[in-house]
Every structure is written in C-alpha cells, then in structure tokens.
C-alpha cells in the first residue's frame, strides 16, 4: 500500500528542485503490505481520499472506501467516479459485515480503505467512558485480521483472473488516545490497540505536525512531517529491508498540498 502513498506524494511534489526520478529514495515495501496511517483525523482523511483518487485514476483499480461519518464535501468528480465505492457503516458490526461480504462481489476491489478505525473500535464499547477498554484488543485484532485475510483472498482472485489490478491492498487510519490529546492519559504509555494493529499492518504512515517556523518560511499555512516506516514480508526466513521514508507536507491557504522528499 505504501507504493500507492509514495505515488501520491510524488504526484503532488514540487517541480522545483525535486528529483522526479521514480527510483529516488529507498524502494517501497512489497505492495502486499497493509498500511496504517496514524495521525490527526482531518489530514489522515485527506491522505486516504488522495490515495483513493490516485489508485482509481492512475492505476485504474476499484476502491472500497469505508467511513463512519459521511464525507460532506466530497468533490463532484469523486461522486461520479464509478471505480470508488463509498460505504458508511455506523457500527463496528456493520463494518465487519461489509468487509466480510466483499468476497461476494463479482468485481472485487483492489484497494480497501477504512477511515478512522478508532471511531469504529471506540464505538463498540458499551461503557460511556472515553478511550479503549479490555476486550477491545480482540475486536481490533478481529477487524485487522479480517482486513488482512480479505485482501489476501481478493489478491488470489485477481491474480487468477489475470487482472492487472492485483494485488489487493489495505490502508486504514487510526488516531490513538495519546495523539488525540486526552490529558488524563499518561503520554508515555503505549496504546494497546495500536500495538495490536501493528501486528497486522506491516507499514505505517505517521503524520506529525511541524510546529516550527518552517511553514511560515514556505509561505504555507501548515507543515507536517510524513514518515513511512515498515518492513517487507520476509522471504526464506531472511528479513527484508526496513522501509524508511520521510516526506515534508506543506498545506497552503488555498488548500493546495505539496509534498517534498526529505
């Protein structure tokens, strides 16, 4: 999945002083990787939408986009795009049912996107308390494992059909309690749900806001660090090379986004 994200970043990178050589930087991990986007919701949703559009337009693949809340300001071009299907399951159970039923579709997607895993998982808790509780690890593992298994199955289906859309990839966004700014939580404590998700998502895209003067220096409204990390699926018991890419994202007042490879 990071191959699609890398394509997004390169497509939106500046022309000036930017090496457009596709081989620039370390190679992305095998496209069979599932990627978890960790960071602030507004930006992670934008990254997911960009990934969906890029996959549908540049790669010509079908995309299944799941979100708990309807995207109000969806561009008209996206609404008309027949290759992207938007679904809005309200609960974790509905999401599980919809993902589990993807194998029934005659034309399966090659990219499965889940926006705000934390919203689905947190909403499954019966308690009125905020945050995650015991038992949530199992629910998180179930959803993540179902996504992995579904992607693996759909990859087989697409490969058997000789489709150029193979493999099927998965990308999901997640915001941990620590990053959501909950003051009651110990900032040094690990997020148990993120630990569980890391077992099933081989690659991670971390969005970290740059609060220095770099944004102002670039005449941008916001500046973000974008870190791509993860490992290739080992082959023959040999560890694959570790993925490590860093990009800088500038967001300008007009809403324009520009990526720069660091």
């Amino acid at each position: 999945m990071t191959d699609i994200l890398t394509l997004v970043f390169r497509t939106l990178s500046s022309q000036t002083g930017q090496n457009k050589d596709p081989s620039a930087g370390p190679p992305p991990p095998a496209p069979h990787s599932n990627t978890l986007v960790v960071g602030e919701h507004r930006l992670s949703r934008s990254v997911l939408l960009l990934a969906a559009v890029t996959a549908a337009s540049e790669l010509g693949v079908r995309v299944a986009f799941f979100a708990q809340t309807q995207i109000q300001s969806l561009p008209e071009c996206l609404q008309r795009c027949s290759k992207i299907t938007f679904s809005y399951p309200r609960t974790l159970e509905e999401l599980l049912q919809q993902v589990a039923s993807l194998h029934e579709f005659p034309c399966p997607p090659s990219l499965i996107i889940i926006d705000r895993l934390d919203g689905f998982l947190r909403g499954a808790v019966a308690s009125s308390h905020a945050g995650f509780h015991s038992g949530d690890e199992s629910r998180a593992a179930h959803l993540a494992a179902l996504l992995c298994d579904t992607a693996a199955f759909l990859t087989e289906v697409l490969e058997k059909r000789g489709s150029s859309s193979a493999p099927c990839r998965t990308i999901a966004s997640f915001l941990s309690d620590a990053d959501s700014g909950q003051e009651s939580r110990d900032p040094s404590a690990m997020d148990p749900i993120l630990d569980v998700l890391d077992r099933y998502f081989q690659a991670r895209c971390t969005l970290d806001q740059d609060r220095s003067y770099e944004a102002a220096a670039a005449a941008a409204q916001e500046a973000w660090h974008v870190y791509l990390s993860g490992t290739k699926i080992p082959d023959d018991l040999e560890d694959g090379p570790t993925l490590a890419q860093e990009w800088k994202l500038f967001i300008f007042p007009e809403g324009l986004m520009e990526f720069k490879l660091v």
């Binding site: 993902v99 194998h103 029934e104 298994d149 080992p234 018991l237």
Partner: protein, 152 residues
C-alpha cells in the same frame, strides 16, 4: 492455512535424514525444525511442547478429536472453525493469526507471551496431518462466519 513467514518450508532439509527424504520440513522463527510427516508429529510432541508450550498438548487433543473444519463457499473463500474444549466454535483465518478465544487475547495480544493459541496450532497440525474436516457453506453464511455474526 498459509504458513506465516516465521513458519516456512525450509530449503535446507537439515533433518530430512531423520524422517525420510520425502518428508516436508517446516522451520519456525526459533530455528527449531519439526518434520511434517504425520507419524513424526506425534513422536515429536516434546519438540512441539518446547516451541509452543502447554498449548501444544491441548492442540493435539483437539486434533485427536477431529475438532478442526475448513469451511469453503462458492466464491472460493475459506475459513477454519475449531470446536473448543467447552464446545464453543472459534473461527480462524487462513492468512493471519486471529482467534476470538480469551487465551489468544490475553496471552498473545496483551501479554505477548506466545505466538498462537491451541486453536490456531490445532489448525496447523490438522492441515499438516491431513485430518481437517471439510464443509461447504453459502457465500452469505461465509460472510456471517467471517464477521462473527453467525455460523453454520
């Protein structure tokens, strides 16, 4: 079940002379090898227990009871169902480790003290020993099984 990267068919059959040249060897991440031949799996209970702990013997009990079923649907989708000791059904996936049992949640996910539970190990052993039950279900039933909302 597709073996994960840590349990791969070894290219170098270090122990093939112990179990016959036609036996398949699987190597796990601890670099311990154990042969795939059904006879040798029972003789290597001690090796299984060394690698997987007490759940190895519990898994072998499930194998003896023929507790593992491979469900398949017309779309080609598959999943494993294991009948636990209490009679409860647990659904496991082909391509990655997950089990809804409390032991998987506590020992594997929370405490990180194991790689799998007895149900997942029983699936691997049944596959290796070719004693997995087979059952066909509809695509809709398969979706219910996978989502955890129902089952055959």
């Amino acid at each position: 079940m597709v073996a994960p990267y840590w349990l791969m068919k070894s290219g170098s059959a270090r122990n093939k002379k112990l179990c016959g040249k036609n036996a398949d060897i699987f190597t796990c991440s601890s670099r311990t090898t154990f042969p795939r031949h059904p006879e040798n799996i029972r003789r290597d209970d001690a090796k299984l227990k060394f690698v997987f702990g007490t759940c190895a013997l519990q898994a072998l009990d499930l194998v003896d009871q023929r507790s593992v079923t491979c469900l398949s649907s017309p779309s080609g989708r598959k999943a494993f169902q294991v009948i636990g000791g209490s009679g409860r059904l647990y659904t496991c996936f082909l391509s990655c480790h997950y089990c809804p049992c409390p032991a998987f949640t506590y020992t594997v996910l929370r405490r990180n003290q194991g790689l799998l539970c007895k149900h997942i190990l029983a699936v691997y052993l049944c596959q290796a020993m070719a004693v997995t039950q087979q059952e066909s279900i509809s695509d809709q039933q398969m979706s219910a099984v996978l989502s955890g909302t129902g089952g055959p």
